[in-house]
Amino acid sequence: MPPALAPPALLVRNLAFTYPASSWTLRVPELTLAPREQLLMQATSGAGKSTLLSLIAGLLEPAEGSIEVQGTRIHALRGAARDRFRGRTLGMVFQTHHLISGLSALENVLAAPLMASLPVSAARAHELLSQLGIVRVSAKIDDLSVGQQQRVAIARALVCNPALVLADEPTASLDPANAQAAMDLLQQSCQAAGAALLCVSHDPAMAHRFARVEPLAADAAAQPLAGATP
């Protein structure tokens, strides 16, 4: 298939979302991410970064507008189909690692294909972990340093070869040196795996790493839903 015909990794149109019993509204008029493209969305805390990522992952329902991930309208999928689509098409990295304690590093990575009902490839998990510098793959996750844990989380986000990786303040819990290393690894790994990357952060130091930086407009977010809809 020629590259021009490949669907964008992400296509957001006229998105509006509001929490129940809240006048706060998140608005994203238009947002497109080409395959393999990497984008940093800058926003202050409370601007709705996590909310936007949850919407894209199909974990929240938008009030208006649509979200397509690799050409599929995720909110048109119901129940199990949406869960499976999320597991296979999206990878997520969070501010805190959100790994499963009691499992080893390798098992945490393997939990992703298991839950997405994809064939579990130990070889791919080993490859990713070694690329990310995790040698003790059988160490319990709680015995790893915070930096190592974040790298395991990156491996887990990529193990199912997703079209799009969503990263929510991925370096917020790391010291500057570890943060640099983790961002290097995240960006390189996404590149290597052919995944697009949407990173949201309030950290201005991160801007230089991305060719494309966009603000999550604070004024748009502040507008009440009713007043903003002409």
Binding site: H98, G102, E107, M115
Partner: protein
């Protein structure tokens, strides 16, 4: 396992249980205890009743002077306590001639040896009465009462045939001599000098022991008859009835002992030598506390046609209490059944509360689990998958607890039956019916699953977005 790089849903469940080790162990233990309690109660309930029914032997009627038929049965067949009143021997003779008995056997019960009942009987008891419907008395060693010795020496009034449990407990052998206590001593253990082994030196009559001091229990008026040594002539095989913990002496011997007491009290023979003999017996000494009676039955039937008629006829006599033992045991168990139901109800409550325990254990871990459930949802787990993971965990808790409970119940039943055997002579085979086990364990697992359902549904409804906000 982790280095091999394999993982399954079961890995997630088992690792989760291990991570919450203490709460997992406590939950399994509480399920196990509940299952064990229910099993032990159900098992003992049935076998207890069976044992009691069996213990009445093959008699049709029991005649006593007790206040009620049930106390009669408990005192004179199960040796619960000394019958407070006795019948004169003449009354026995009148009753023995009043109906076409297969047997009518007099018993005098009121003495003890190391807190085991000593019963005065006639030699007929061993030939006629069956302590259990399917088992007549049988000897392990020696002979029955009233039979001449192998060397031709005649039987005496001062010999004793010992039930298997008593013989075992005191390690009695043929040839040993026992000194019997009148009434029941408060001290359940042995009394100094109450046993002289075969070949040992017997106390000089009236000399070695002061009748009123060394063997006297001032509290109950019980005292040891050191004037009469009863020689062990036979040891019975186990009959799995209360008779296993009794000792049997000739009725005459029992009467003579009490005649001696009477004489001592009258101060005619102040504590000198074994004085009372058969010649000293007055009609008032010849007391009988119970009559075991069986009517003649037709071939192949255990219930004689004239049972009711004889029963009604005897009932007209106000000086005696007449009972049909099997009927009394049946009535006893309708009373006890309510208590049993209470116990079973309690066991069910315990089981339910352990279900609540599982629920709480699972629910308490929900804070940690909500995050985990949210992670799994992000990784693509469907709600049904999450539900099955949580339910699998509670089912495992139920299975582990159930299995442990069965082991505990088997141990508990063995322990209890051992205790009942040694304390009360009740032989209860701890049979754990396989069906009962399956039902109880299955309901434990079901209960565990039900208890797990609530946390599972909570996990099912978990708001993924909410629980993946930055922690800390």
């Amino acid at each position: 396992m982790s280095t091999a790089g394999s993982i399954s849903d079961m890995t997630l469940v088992l690792r989760g249980m291990r991570t919450r080790g203490l709460s997992t162990i406590i939950t399994i233990l509480s399920v196990a205890l509940a299952v064990a309690l229910v099993l032990v109660l159900l098992t003992l309930r049935d076998s207890g009743k069976r044992t009691f029914e069996r213990g009445t032997g093959d008699m049709h009627l029991l005649v006593t002077a007790d206040a009620s038929p049930l106390t009669g049965v408990l005192n004179s067949i199960f040796f619960a306590s000394t019958p407070p009143r006795a019948l004169p021997h003449t009354k026995f003779q009148a009753i023995a001639e009043s109906a076409p008995w297969s047997y009518a056997l007099p018993l005098a019960f009121g003495d003890s040896w190391r807190s085991a009942p000593v019963v005065g009987v006639t030699a007929d008891l061993f030939a006629s009465f069956r302590p259990a419907p399917d088992a007549p008395f049988a000897l392990r060693t020696g002979r029955f009462l009233g039979v001449p010795e192998a060397n031709g020496a005649p039987a005496t009034n001062f010999e004793v045939v010992v039930g298997s449990a008593v013989a075992q407990r005191a390690n009695l052998r043929v040839g040993d001599t026992l000194f019997i206590t009148h009434g029941f001593s408060r001290s359940a253990g042995e009394i100094a000098g109450d046993l002289v082994r075969a070949g040992g030196r017997l106390p000089t009559p009236g000399g070695d022991h002061d009748h009123d001091h060394s063997g006297h229990d001032s509290g109950t008026g019980a005292h040891v008859h050191f004037d009469y040594g009863f020689r062990v002539v036979g040891i019975l095989e186990s009959t799995a009835t209360p008779h296993d913990r009794a000792l049997f002496i000739p009725l005459q011997g029992a009467w003579i002992m009490h005649a001696q007491d009477r004489l001592a009290k009258q101060n005619l023979q102040p504590q000198v030598g074994p004085v009372a003999t058969e010649q000293d017996l007055l009609e008032s000494d010849k007391l009988v506390t119970a009559i075991y009676a069986r009517l003649i039955t037709r071939e192949g039937s255990d219930v004689p046609a004239n049972l009711q008629a004889v029963f009604d006829q005897l009932r007209r006599d106000p000086t005696i209490t007449i009972s049909q033992p099997t009927q009394q045991i049946g009535q006893l168990f309708t009373i006890v059944d309510g208590v049993h139901r209470l116990f079973v109800a309690m066991a069910i409550v315990v089981m339910l509360s352990s279900g609540v325990g599982i629920l709480l254990a699972l629910y308490n871990s929900m804070h940690e689990r909500r995050r985990q459930v949210a992670i799994l949802r992000v990784l693509g787990a469907t709600k049904a998958r999450i539900l099955s993971l949580v339910l699998a965990e509670s089912a495992l808790l139920g299975i582990a607890g159930g299995a442990l409970g069965v082991v505990l119940a088997l141990g508990g039943a063995l322990l209890t039956s051992g205790l009942l055997r040694s304390r009360f002579g009740l032989v209860i085979a701890p049979q754990l019916d396989a069906r009962v086990i399956v039902i109880v364990v299955a309901s434990a697992v079901l209960l565990a699953c039900l208890a797990g359902l609530l946390p599972a549904l909570a996990a099912y409804r978990v708001s993924v977005a909410k629980h993946l906000r930055p922690v800390g």
